[in-house]
Every structure is written in C-alpha cells, then in structure tokens.
Symmetry: C2
Subunit: 212 residues, 2 copies
C-alpha cells in the first residue's frame, strides 16, 4: 500500500511528519514524499529541509494521499498543475486526506464542495471560500467520499491513527500508537481556540506576525 505525502516550499513539517511517523510503522505501508520536483524543499520558516523523493507526475496511483499545510499552501491553491494532480489521484485513492491548511488544496481542487471539513483555526474563512463548511472538529471524515481532513498541525497524528484503523484495523493502529509512545500529556490546555485564553490567542497572532 502506497501513501503519498505531498511536500512543497514553506510546508509545516509536523503536518507531514506526524502522519508519516504513524503510517510508516505499519509494514504493509510504504510512504513516498512527493513534490513539484525531486529534491529539497524548506519548511515555512526556512529552518528545515525535507526531501521530495518523487515528483507529482511520477506518483500517479497512490492508495492514500496526505496533503499537509503550511503558508506555502496559499500559493499552491493557484497552481493548476497541483490541483489537476490532486483531482486525478483522488479518482483512485482509498482515502484522500489533509492536515491543517492542506485542506485548502483539497478545497481548491473541488473535492470539498458542500462537505464539512477541518483546517487550522486561522484558515477557516479561506477554507469556506472554496465551498467547504468549516467545522472545529479535530478530524472530519466522509467515508463515502473517501475524504478525511484534520485540524491544525499536530492533529495529523490523530488522523493517521484513524487512517490506520480504516486501512489495516484497530489493532494495527494501537500498535503504531504504542510504537510512537503516543500517550500525550501536554503541560497546558491551550491547544484549541475554544480552550485558549484571549491573551494566548493574542500572543499566538503576534508570533505569527513576527515569524512570517
């Protein structure tokens, strides 16, 4: 079983690496990192290089697509080559999925029209501009349409465990969870817009402004 994880300039690395780490634990799953060209792309702040081992036109029939997010998605939603590729691979995938603002790509490709979908809390309006109905759930699945979208960044780990359950079975998902020792114990409880104080939201927005 082949899982294609898309990479692009200015990606959010954890969006991609969270699902990768869960999925690669299953021996029947092979992961390939795919991008516009083979070679390195840099993360959103430029501090990390990740390698695309294949170009989009080399990976035509993945069983699963995972599209991560990052500020680079804002340019990518206007790239007809990428959107055509998403539409084409989606015809044959078992599941087409996204993490964070990766859902903007599925939206721009027309896959989310009229569907509820998740994205990062800063991108809800942009997601809806593509015809999707934003919902603040961490993982939103439409099994008949074979589409699963996850909320911001770290939510891709939860989504990928659900994906393993769907693709292989619940025992495989539990084994992967144990292998990555995913027994989260965050020292704070500010991981969602509804849980964070106004001061935390304000500081996060300030940090976004300083980093971009």
């Amino acid at each position: 079983m082949q899982v294609a994880i898309a990479l692009f300039p200015r990606n959010t690395a954890l969006d991609a690496i969270g699902p990768y780490e869960v999925l690669q634990r299953i021996p029947s799953i092979d992961v390939v990192f795919v991008g516009q060209h083979r070679g390195e792309v840099r993360s959103d702040n430029g501090m990390l290089g990740l390698t695309c081992d294949a170009s989009f036109d080399e990976v035509t029939r993945p069983d699963v697509l995972v599209f991560p997010g990052g500020v680079g998605t804002r340019a990518l939603v206007e790239d007809t080559g990428v959107l055509d590729w998403i539409r084409e691979v989606h015809r044959h995938t078992v599941f087409t999925t996204s993490v964070c603002t990766g859902s903007l790509l599925l939206g721009a490709a027309g896959l989310l029209t009229g569907l509820t979908a998740a994205t990062h809390w800063r991108a809800t309006e942009l997601l809806e501009s593509f015809g999707a109905i934003y919902t603040p759930d961490r993982v939103v699945e439409h099994l008949p349409q074979r589409i699963i979208t996850a909320a911001g960044v770290s939510s891709g780990i939860d989504m990928a465990l659900r994906l393993v359950e769907l693709l292989v079975g619940p025992e495989a998902a539990r084994a992967s969870q144990l292998m990555i020792e995913y027994d989260p114990q965050p020292p704070f409880d500010a991981g969602a817009l509804g849980k964070a104080s106004d001061a935390t939201v304000q500081l996060a927005l300030e940090y976004y402004g300083q980093r971009s």
Copy 2:
C-alpha cells in the same frame, strides 16, 4: 537563542520534528539541524530525507541541544566524535535534552550517570547500561544538571512545550500549543506500555521485526 537539533542516519523523524515545530513557533528561538556532515540523512526506514544544515563542529555553543532517537543511535553511541561534541556543548547549554533513544547518546556521553531518565520503552536496559536510572515518566527533568529527557517519539512535543515554558515562559508555551493546535484526541488508549494490551505489545514487536 539557538536550539541545535541533531540528525543522523536512521533517525526517527518525529523525535526531531515534534520539538522543532513547538520551538520554532517562538520568534526568539532559531533552530539549526546539525549532523556529522552537512547534507541529507535518511530516516530509520529510509523513506524520508532530512537536511543537516551544519556539521557538529560548526555549532559549538547552542543554548539548547535536542538529541532525537532512532535505530541509528545504536551505532552513534560508539562514535567518540559525537560524544565529545555532546560533552563540549553541554558545558555551555541552558538545557541539554533528548527524545526517545536520544537519551542513549546523553548516557554514552556520561551525562546521565546516577540520574533518572526517560527513553523509548524498548531501550530501557540499554539506557541503564550507561549508568542512568530508567523511569517510565514521559518527561524527566533535572534542572540543576540542566538535563531533560523524554520518552518515546511523540513525547518530544510535550517536552518541548515544557522547554518553552522554562526558556521563555508559560504564556509563550501556551501560544505555541495553540499554534500547533495540540489538543490531542487519540482514538485509542494504547500509547504507553502500561496501557497497551499484551496483543498490542506483541504486534508492535512483530512490526519492529518486519521493518528493521
């Protein structure tokens, strides 16, 4: 403030990328990925390439060291060049930290002698062979010694949030948590050895055998 995250052949990518994603959200923190040589190293299964932007001898005074794990640590604990580098940078760090089997490197460098420490649940005996006292906590900190070790793979996210709290403050840590939408909702509860069934442990061990 400079955070050096070590990379090496056969790394476990999420060990490195979890902390990276938390730490890079703070504008005053710069992250540099450092390895034996500049250039690409591959993850434990070979499916992912990550770039070392600097060699160990180019990064001599990081404020924080994060040493991730992976099967590649088993060779690295015998590499005197790396161990010397760890000892040398630790003299000046604010915190020297590890994720997963990265603690084997801190142990082999002599930094954990007589200290409690965390590691991946499969590496507990190996960790103790370096003089550390294994403890199953997710994050183990020794503030006077400036050493923090985290358990397997995904625990690096929790550790990094605590690190931000220590380095910058709790409000910064909460902002980072919100930015990466870290409101974990694992669909199963098998993320620690004490929580997983015998069947799950058995399957995980079987998967390890098949993947290595």
